[in-house]
């Protein structure tokens, strides 16, 4: 696809550092995401991708460095405050509201779009009912958007794995992000599911949503990204269009070569980033 010329930076990550106890998880990470683009963030497991997600979205506190979205610093914000700025993420490990129907999952995701306060609700003002109706329509639209319309009544936990991943994206989209952070959205999907997910990605970018994508499936990353950033050992080793990245000798040495050699091993490695995930709350 043609690389658009987008100049405005949406998310800037500047010399981000994260320590877990004595372990350095991210060492001086600097990159930015420009408004409207799909940025692929790749690197071997343990490179700090999920940790970076957690730091950006307020789940862990970075040790140092600066993160800003549209010029506003994200330092010290709790995850829900970050979401209020329009930055919404998905999780590496599938994460849905398992005990709720797919439809209700999306309704929950719509939280940010609703404005009625507790008192309005308790007194049952007509505006509450109107908003409810509107939200139920929106929820249907969002489900249809990811192609889960026919599954609306299934429990989240009862959906097949690939559909749970779609539901996760639907829940995130429901929160009306301007920047969507996807953490390995197609891991565990079969090739045809991945292919249809790539189409959904196309639809998402048409909505004008900026996307930061972490993914191991190279075909997918190279297929949907406008730009790719490569991480190794917690720092950036390359930044460029998918075509440039595929030709970059550093990347081939540090990441792709290793990947092919150790493909099997990497899949089973314990994921350091996920382990360090902590809840930060205000």
């Amino acid at each position: 696809m043609p690389a658009k010329t987008i100049q405005q930076e949406a998310l800037t990550v500047d010399s981000l550092e994260v320590h877990f106890g004595g372990l350095l998880a991210i060492n001086s990470m600097t990159f930015d995401v420009r408004a409207g683009e799909v940025l692929g963030l790749i690197g071997p497991n343990g490179a700090g991708k999920t940790t970076a997600f957690n730091a950006i979205t307020g789940y862990i506190r970075p040790s140092s460095g600066h993160i800003a979205y549209r010029g506003a610093s994200l330092a010290g914000l709790s995850p829900n405050e970050v979401a209020d700025l329009g930055v919404v993420r998905t999780f590496q490990k599938t994460s849905v509201f398992g005990g709720q129907s797919a439809f209700d999952n999306v309704l929950m995701g719509l939280h940010r779009r609703q404005t009625r306060k507790a008192l309005h609700i308790i007194f049952g003002l007509p505006s509450v009912a109107a908003e409810e109706r509107e939200m139920r329509d929106t929820a249907r639209e969002v489900l249809d958007f990811v192609g889960l319309g026919p599954r609306a009544d299934e429990l989240g936990s009862a959906l097949p794995y690939g559909e749970q991943r779609l539901l996760e994206v639907a829940v995130a989209l429901a929160a009306r992000p301007s920047l969507l952070l996807l953490d390995e959205p197609v891991s565990g999907m079969n090739p045809s599911e991945t292919a249809s997910f790539m189409q959904i990605m196309g639809e998402i970018r048409k909505l004008g949503i900026t996307v930061l994508l972490v993914e191991h499936d190279m075909k997918m990353v190279m297929g949907v990204s406008d730009r790719v950033v490569v991480l190794n050992n917690g720092s950036i080793i390359a930044d460029g269009s998918p075509g440039e990245i595929q030709k970059n000798p550093d990347v081939i040495r540090a990441y792709l070569g290793e990947r092919y050699k150790k493909k099997a091993q990497m899949r089973s490695t314990a994921r350091v980033g996920a382990k360090g995930k902590k809840r930060a709350q205000g």
């Binding site: 829900n80 919404v88 998905t90 509201f97 609700i121 009544d153």
Partner: protein, 345 residues
């Protein structure tokens, strides 16, 4: 159709005093109703936000004592020369004060303890109830301690000079309790089928995901606690003006346990659960009374609770609805209608 059914049920319940003809049975229904309100309020926390509040009786008791004291009036010797005198106030005003003070203490406990969750919250809530009980036992100037507050007025509604209704008899008290049950039920239903309730359920089901889509954890937990405490306070106020005496035993942990058993048995996180559980455990003691001493009754409750958690962990209401849905589904396949969680029950 559904609306019609609901109205019929309420009308049926309201008609009970006309044909029941036994004041003792009516008394049981009144106390059961009060406990159902308390159980519904507990369910908001335990069922919907997933926080096990084992100090719930504190809110009930605070509602009771506040309502009793405001309606009776009290004086406190603050210094040797100055005594603060609080004149008796009308019962409806006292009742509202009870609700407000219970809600405020709910807010306080929520602020304090939702920094911590799980086991810590459980223990904080127990401790809070125990502190309140000891205060009520020892602050004799205010509460009369173990001597109890006596001669509390029953509910009175009056338009000065024109009309006055005092709830000395059982029937009006029954209707009052029923009315409040309906109000609490409606409020909770509105809440859980709205944005706010969904936020609470989201927190219970998956907190990291809930926060990632913008749900403010503390805000909704505190909101749930305030509402829950206020409703428990209302139940306490009703109780006080009905039995017309209140002593520190109102804070006994066993009452919290009763509420928990009601919610768990009926089905936590369902609207009908606390009502069903409340009816069972409100009426069961009277049935058992004939042939079992109180200890034996409690042994039966304890064992029942264990068995229910083992074999019917979701509670009676979800089990029945699932059974019903399977039956209904059988011939014509799944009925597709995205409905709010627990709304069916």
């Amino acid at each position: 159709m559904n609306r019609f059914l609901e109205v019929s049920v309420v009308l049926f319940l309201a008609s009970i005093p006309f044909w029941l003809g036994n004041l003792y049975y009516l008394h049981i229904l009144i106390t059961t109703g009060i406990f159902i309100i308390a159980a519904m309020s507990l369910n908001l926390l335990l069922g919907y936000t997933g926080q096990l509040s084992l100090g719930h009786v504190a809110f009930f008791g605070i509602g009771s004592y506040t309502s009793a004291l405001v309606s009776l009036g009290f004086d406190l010797e603050l210094t040797e020369s100055y005594t603060f005198v609080f004149e008796p106030k009308p019962v409806w005003f006292a009742f509202l004060c009870g609700i407000v003070l219970a809600a405020i203490s709910g807010w306080l406990i929520g602020r304090i303890s939702f920094k911590v969750r799980g086991a810590y919250f459980v223990i904080v809530s127990i401790s809070f109830a125990e502190v309140v009980r000891l205060v009520s036992l020892n602050w004799i100037d205010l509460t009369e301690g173990p001597m109890a507050l006596n001669n509390i007025q029953p509910f009175t509604f009056a338009i000065p000079g024109l009309w006055e209704l005092t709830f000395f008899k059982k029937e009006p008290n029954y209707w009052l309790v029923l009315g409040l049950c309906v109000v609490c039920f409606v409020i909770i239903r509105r809440l859980v089928q709205s944005r706010a309730g969904r936020a609470m359920i989201a927190l219970r089901e998956n907190e990291p995901l809930a926060t990632s889509i913008g749900v403010d954890v503390t805000k909704y937990l505190v909101l749930a606690t305030i509402l829950s405490a206020g409703m428990a306070g209302a139940a306490g106020g009703l109780y006080t003006h009905y039995v017309r005496i209140v002593d520190p035993d109102i804070f006994l942990f066993i009452y919290t346990v009763t509420m928990v058993i009601m919610v768990v048995t009926g089905g936590k996180g369902t609207l009908a659960g606390p009502v069903v559980g409340g009816l069972i455990f409100g009426i069961l003691p009277e049935v058992l009374r004939a042939f079992a001493s109180p200890e034996v009754q409690w042994i039966i409750y304890g064992i029942l609770m264990i068995l229910i958690v083992y074999f019917l962990p979701e509670g009676i209401v979800p089990a029945v609805t699932q059974w019903w849905q399977r039956r209904a589904r059988g011939p014509e396949g799944s009925m597709s209608q995205g409905s709010a969680p627990g709304a069916a029950s």
